[in-house]
């Protein structure tokens, strides 16, 4: 599985990279939506994008709209990972084609569980209490 992490903060990309690498994803990174689109057009098409909302050049909402407009990318799963947490914005992102939505701040478990909901990692079924 390949994940593209799209966030203007290098520190946030680093946090997300460590989480998904732990799930044995190969990762690529982009610092805004336009850079991510450029990479995808150049052939780096991931299985899942983890997308921030507020970024320079092209925001995450525009990015998911662009990805959804291209039928060649219909298999790409889109997961917003953003501090935008109004109900209205979550609804907007889902309507535009995002499959999942994680609100920042998040714990690593939240990312893992959402990816597992999306069928991208085997569900952890260990059931061991804390």
């Amino acid at each position: 599985m390949r994940a593209m992490i799209i966030d203007d903060s290098r520190a946030m990309r680093s946090i997300l990279r460590r989480i998904v690498s732990g799930l044995e994803f190969e990762t690529s990174e982009a610092e805004h939506g336009q850079a991510a689109l450029d990479q995808m057009r150049a052939g780096v098409v991931p299985d899942v994008c983890l997308v921030d909302w507020n970024m320079p050049v092209m925001d995450g909402y525009t990015f998911i709209t662009e990805v959804r407009a291209n039928p060649e990318w219909r298999d790409v799963t889109l997961m917003m990972v953003t501090t935008e947490s109004e109900q209205r914005n979550i609804v907007r992102a889902l309507a535009a084609g995002a499959h999942e939505y994680v609100i920042k701040p998040f714990t690593p478990d939240a990312i893992v569980e959402k990816l597992s909901l999306l069928g991208l990692v085997p569900a952890s079924d260990q059931g061991v209490p804390a």
Partner: protein, 167 residues
């Protein structure tokens, strides 16, 4: 939830505290928590060597959310987020980490205020935050993390002033 004080709408101090603590906990874990810190009202941020970062909210609610923290704390924050030894954290890393921090605090506070509003990209500076004269402080939280002072502030346009104001 928001509260109305003297014509201006501001986030409640409890909410600012809870949001800040949630961000800290998620980023840095439970080992080193933020502690409350008593500072007389009106006193300037007293750390030596400061990083500051701000985001502006505009739309249904207007405001500026600022986080200031002591150099060492900022560097440790960057080290924690980037998973690097503190000695290897460059200024650009600190700026990036502090910017993401204020983005999270500001974005969550925005969601508690009347909307719809838009969140700006973070503006980060080495040095204390500077506030325009047309904004007024409506909430201030003084905290300590790993021995260094941390301050979170919310400013809103001064009643009667014409624009939202920013750094």
């Amino acid at each position: 939830m928001s509260v109305l004080t003297d014509e201006v709408e501001a986030p409640a101090e409890d909410d600012v505290r809870a949001v800040t603590e949630d961000v800290w906990l998620a980023l840095l874990g439970e080992e080193e928590v933020l502690l409350p810190r008593q500072v007389p009202s009106g006193s300037p941020f007293d750390a030596t060597g400061v990083w500051s970062a701000a985001v502006t909210v505009s739309g249904g609610w207007q405001g500026v959310v600022t986080v200031e923290l002591q150099e060492d704390a900022a560097r440790l924050l960057g080290a924690g987020m980037l998973d690097l030894p503190a000695a290897e954290v460059a200024d650009a890393d600190v700026a990036d980490a502090v910017g993401e921090l204020v983005n999270m605090v500001g974005g969550n506070l925005k969601s508690l205020m009347p909307g719809p509003s838009v969140l700006s990209l973070p503006a980060v500076a080495a040095g204390r935050a500077v506030f325009a004269s047309d904004v007024v402080e409506v909430c201030r939280l003084d905290l300590a993390w790993r021995g260094g002072p941390v301050r979170v502030c919310v400013h809103v346009p001064r009643p009667g002033s014409s624009n939202g104001g920013s750094r």
